[in-house]
Structures are given as structure tokens and as C-alpha cells.
């Protein structure tokens, strides 16, 4: 049971303010993912929640109780570290039971809980081993075991999967999702990997330069990004952004077609047009909004990524479902799906999408 709330939280190192205006309410049982490029402050925010990093301003509460001055040990939160942080001089079993050992739990209780957790995580045979004798995935499991054995009111994960190889990462991602379903505890998860964010989160918090850019469900972020940063950060390959000029009926591409958005865009100066690679249709060379030449073609099996060069709009990424025959250098026409256009003002704020614009 943990409802967390951050109110106007700031973080400064000396006179340098690195985070500000952090306002976030995390509901009980919610899986929140903090995501952003490196250096955006996501780990700092997590460490402030953990109590490992002092909060410079504002207030952080758990279930209504102020936590700013509470020591990490008294917050009743477990944390899984990117480095796993297993105690090298203790066996797997003692690692997992360490929190109970510190709390003074009787030996039998400890052994029983360790055995239970080891069973859940498939570590039964490794309980007497030392961390150095385990593989990366096994260490990760031990780190998770150490967290769940305490039955804390919330879990924090600091990029827990970034040291694992790709296939193991997917496996552990599923395991974390299962863990959340089983325990229904509040979880806060930090990652720079948007796939992890999109697959795990109930809600995603996108951070950049120490500020929250947007909070929302994965689909919300994908469909209605609040600004250009979020739009380009979420989704892979990255959203294409083209300069455009507002027009009576919509927007006009430089030296190109006018896109009818059914409404005049009332903004001064230039705007930017965002379109995801999967929202561009490949049509005959003479048709469509933009003429282009295929430059690099990536066959992924389920999809084909085509990096194209255009005459006036620079390079664009196009993603076509399925496997299509395309050779580099081939001319093609591109049609931008009107219903999936995003518009951004000069400062990057989203002006909405076509359906919203038309309304």
C-alpha cells in the first residue's frame, strides 16, 4: 500500500538547480516508468524517492506522511540497482535474507522466506553460491529476490535490465511484469529504453533536462505527445519532423504540397510537422505529397524501414508493414496520413493532431 506524491520537488547541487517543478502523484499499485535521455534526472528522481539523495525543495509524501527527512531504511521501500549491488561476501541466500537479518528476524523465518523467494525466482539450487559464481541473469534475479523478500510497500528499479543481453532482457521484462501483477505493489521503474517503458508502464513520465515533459499512458504518449521532445523520444524509429508554413486550409511543406487539415492554423511564423515513420504510405513515384528516393532499406521481416532522401524535406524514415521489395536508389512517392499528423509550434509545444485540429 503506497500512494506517493511529489509536490514542487526540486534538486540542486550547490547553486546549480538540476531538477524543478516535479509534481507527480503515483497511485497505489501503479507501475510508473520514468524515462528520458541520459542526464535527464530520472535516476536522481528515483534516488530522491528512495532517500539516497536529499530533496532540495518541495515535499515528497508516502500515504500522506512527509518523507523528505526520513532515512532510506525507514521508508519501507525496496530498490533494485542497475549494478545489482549484491553483497559479494555473502551467499545468495544471505543476500536475499539480509534485510530480515538486519531487522532481527529469527533464523528459521529467514530461511523459510529465502526458500520461498528462491523458489519463485528459480534460484533454489543457487542459494549457497556466491554472487561471483552467478551469471548476469541470475544476479538480476537475486537482486529481485532481495527486494521482494521484504514485502515492502513500494519497489524502485534503477535501469535493472540494462546490463543484460537482449534476449535475457525480454525474459526479465516479462518477469517484472508478472511480479507486478502478482504483488500489485507500487513500482517506480527508471529506464532509458522506451520499449521497456511502453511495455511495462501503467503510466510513463517523460523527463528531460530535469523537468517532467509529460505524464501519461503509453498510448497517450504515442498518440498525443505534449511536445516535440516527447514525440521524438517515444516511438521507434523516431518521428520525422519537417518544417512547414501555416496556410488557409492547413499547412504547406517547403516547395511542396499543401496538406489540407480542414482548418486554418492560427499561429505566427513557421510550425513543424511531425509524422511517424509508420504513418507514411509509399505510393507511386509520381503521386503522394513528397517525392523521394530510397537510400537505405532495412528488412526486419515484419516491417521494412526505408530511409529516404527527398529534394526539399531532407531525409525521412518510412516504415512499411510487411516485407516489400525495394532497392536503394528507387524513386518513390510518399503520402502522409492526414489523420496521423502532429503539429508543433516553434517552441516545440504540440498544437494537436488532425482529428483534434479539425474539431
Amino acid at each position: 500500500m503506497a500512494r506517493m506524491e511529489l509536490k514542487d520537488v526540486t534538486k540542486s547541487y550547490g547553486s546549480v538547480e538540476v531538477m524543478r517543478d516535479i509534481n507527480l502523484a503515483i497511485d497505489d499499485g501503479e507501475f510508473i516508468v520514468l524515462v528520458g535521455p541520459s542526464g535527464c534526472g530520472k535516476s536522481t528522481l528515483l534516488r530522491m524517492i528512495a532517500g539516497l539523495e536529499p530533496i532540495s525543495g518541495g515535499e515528497f509524501t508516502i500515504d500522506g506522511a512527509r518523507m523528505n527527512e526520513v532515512r532510506p531504511r525507514d521508508r519501507d521501500i525496496a530498490m533494485v540497482f542497475q549494478s545489482y549491488a549484491l553483497y559479494p561476501h555473502m551467499t545468495v541466500g544471505r543476500n536475499m535474507g539480509f534485510s530480515m537479518e538486519i531487522a532481527g528476524a529469527p533464523k528459521e523465518d529467514r530461511a523459510r522466506k529465502v526458500a520461498e523467494a528462491a523458489k519463485v525466482l528459480g534460484l533454489e539450487k543457487l542459494v549457497d553460491r556466491y554472487p561471483r559464481e552467478l551469471s548476469g541473469g541470475q544476479r538480476q534475479r537475486v537482486a529481485m529476490g532481495r527486494a521482494i523478500i521484504r514485502e515492502p510497500r513500494a519497489f524502485l528499479f534503477d535501469e535493472p535490465l540494462s546490463n543484460l543481453d537482449a534476449s535475457l532482457r525480454i525474459e526479465m521484462r516479462l518477469e517484472i511484469a508478472r511480479l507486478h501483477q502478482a504483488l500489485k505493489s507500487t513500482m517506480v521503474y527508471v529506464t532509458h529504453d522506451q520499449v521497456e517503458a511502453l511495455t511495462l508502464a501503467d503510466r510513463i513520465v517523460v523527463l528531460e533536462a530535469g523537468r517532467i515533459q509529460q505524464v501519461g499512458s503509453p498510448l497517450e504518449l504515442y498518440e498525443r505527445p505534449a511536445n516535440k521532445f516527447v514525440a521524438q523520444f517515444i516511438g521507434s524509429p523516431t518521428m520525422n519532423v519537417l518544417p512547414a508554413t501555416p496556410d488557409e486550409a492547413g499547412v504547406r511543406l517547403p516547395q511542396g504540397a499543401t496538406l489540407d487539415l480542414g482548418r486554418e492554423i492560427a499561429t505566427l511564423g513557421t510550425v513543424e510537422l511531425g509524422i511517424r515513420p509508420e504513418h507514411i504510405d509509399v505510393v507511386d513515384p509520381a503521386q503522394g505529397d513528397i517525392r523521394a528516393k530510397a537510400d537505405v532499406v532495412e528488412h526486419l521481416g515484419s516491417d521494412t524501414n526505408i530511409y529516404v532522401r527527398t529534394e526539399h524535406q531532407g531525409g525521412l524514415m518510412v516504415r512499411v508493414h510487411g516485407n516489400i521489395a525495394m532497392t536503394p536508389g528507387a524513386p518513390l512517392g510518399l503520402r502522409l496520413q492526414r489523420e496521423n499528423l502532429h503539429l508543433f509550434a516553434a517552441d516545440g509545444t504540440a498544437l494537436g493532431r488532425k482529428p483534434a485540429l479539425a474539431a
Partner: protein, 279 residues
Amino acid sequence: MSTLTQPSALRTTGKYAAIGFYLLFALFPIYWLVKIALTPDALIYSEGTRMIPSALTLENFAAVLQSDFLSYFANSLVVSLGAAAGTTLVAAGAGYCFSRFRFAGKKVIIALLLITQMFPLLMIIAPIYKIVASLGLLNSLVSLIVVYTAFNIPFATFLMQSFFDGIPEDLEEAAMMDGCTRFQALRKVVFPLTLPGLGATLGFVFTAAWSELLFALMLISKNDTMTFPVGLLTFVSKFSVDWGQMMAAGTLALIPSCLFFIFIQRYLVQGLTSGAVKG
């Protein structure tokens, strides 16, 4: 791809020859020390340069053990252990702070510690003598412990700091998340992992204090508080040098150092932290 180059016989021989030569170079003085200690007095000059003496005796050792040597030995042990323990304790605390905390004046303190290492000891002997004398600590072992501790702390601090730097901070933080106070995390997680560092520091200071002559000579003049290096000089009299007994005493003096290193060498073995973090 996996054709391993067989080490050629020549290379192997060369390698062992180099190691052998080094060992010969390093161990020969010790051999000579033991040899002279075991040579009867009468033969020392007559067959001085023979590699193996024609007769062996334990007389020198017996004589040494009946002299004041045992008291020198005990004094040295007290001084060395005291200095080693004191230095390690302070250096561990200071090293931990330098490694983990950011505080005002940290750079200045580190710079000062470094500066203290730049003076030749000879320069500060007189002031130290003056200080110790005015404290009334001349001819006491305490003065030596204090002086040795003070001189070894800077280097030992840097040594300990590098050991603490090698222990990921994540481990302490994990322990604190697991319910430890900072001190508990230090005791239960950091301390066991720092044993190699503590061992190395103890060993380093112990040997330094064990063989220190200059300050011991200056600050101690009474027979009952002499440390072993000073005591050795008593074998040099005005008219002769009692080589046999001097070497026997020297041989015996090697024993504690050897024992100490045998005791701590397992803590000196590194690699204990492997497996803690990503491997």
C-alpha cells in the same frame, strides 16, 4: 583461429632465469645474514667469504637471547603494533570520508596531506625532538608510536581511500535500503570487503615502524625503552663489532615481519569484490 602459440623453450628458460636472478639478488643478503649468524666467532674472519662455513653453531643465538635483545624485541613489537593499529584506524576513517563524502576544505586537506610527504625527515627531526622533549615524552615508547602514526597517516589514508573507491557505493546504498544505518552498512558490508586494504595498510605501517632507526635513535636513549634497530647498534662497541650476535639478532628480527605477512597475506589477495556488480 585458436592456434595458441606454444611458448618457446627459450622464452620459458629466459623467464625463469630472470625470476631466478631476481630472487638470488633479493635473497642473498638474507642468506648472508643467516650464514654469519650461524658461523662460530672464530671462523668469521678466517673464512669470511666462503659460501658455506665449515662449522655451524647456535651460540650466537643463545648469547643474543640472554642479552637485552628480548626487551628490545618487545619494545619494537609494542611500537610497531601500536603505530600500525593507530594509523590504520585513522587512515580508514579518513580514507572513507575522502572516498564517500563531499565537504568544504576536502581539497585543501588532501593537499596538506601530500605536502607533509614532501619534506625530508631529517629536516623535521629537531622540531620533533623539541616537541617530544617539552611534552616530557623522551625515552618513552608512546612518543615513537605517536610519531610513527603521524608520519604514516597521509600515505595510509591515500591507500585506504583507493580501497574504498574500489568498493561500489551501490553496495552501501543497497544495504541502507535493506534497513541498515550508514554505520551498519559500513560494518556489515564495507568492512568485510575492505579487509585486504586494512591488511595491506597494517602490514605497510608495521614494517615501516619495525625497521625505523632515525627517530628511535633520536628520541630513545635508555636501554629499557630501546627498540630493536637501536638495540642492534649496541653490538657495535668502541673496539669491535660482534658480527655473529648482531646477525643472529637480525635473523630473529625477521621473524615477526614474516609471521605478520603470513597472517595478513590472505587478506591481501584481491578480487573479493568481483561479482558484486556487473561482471
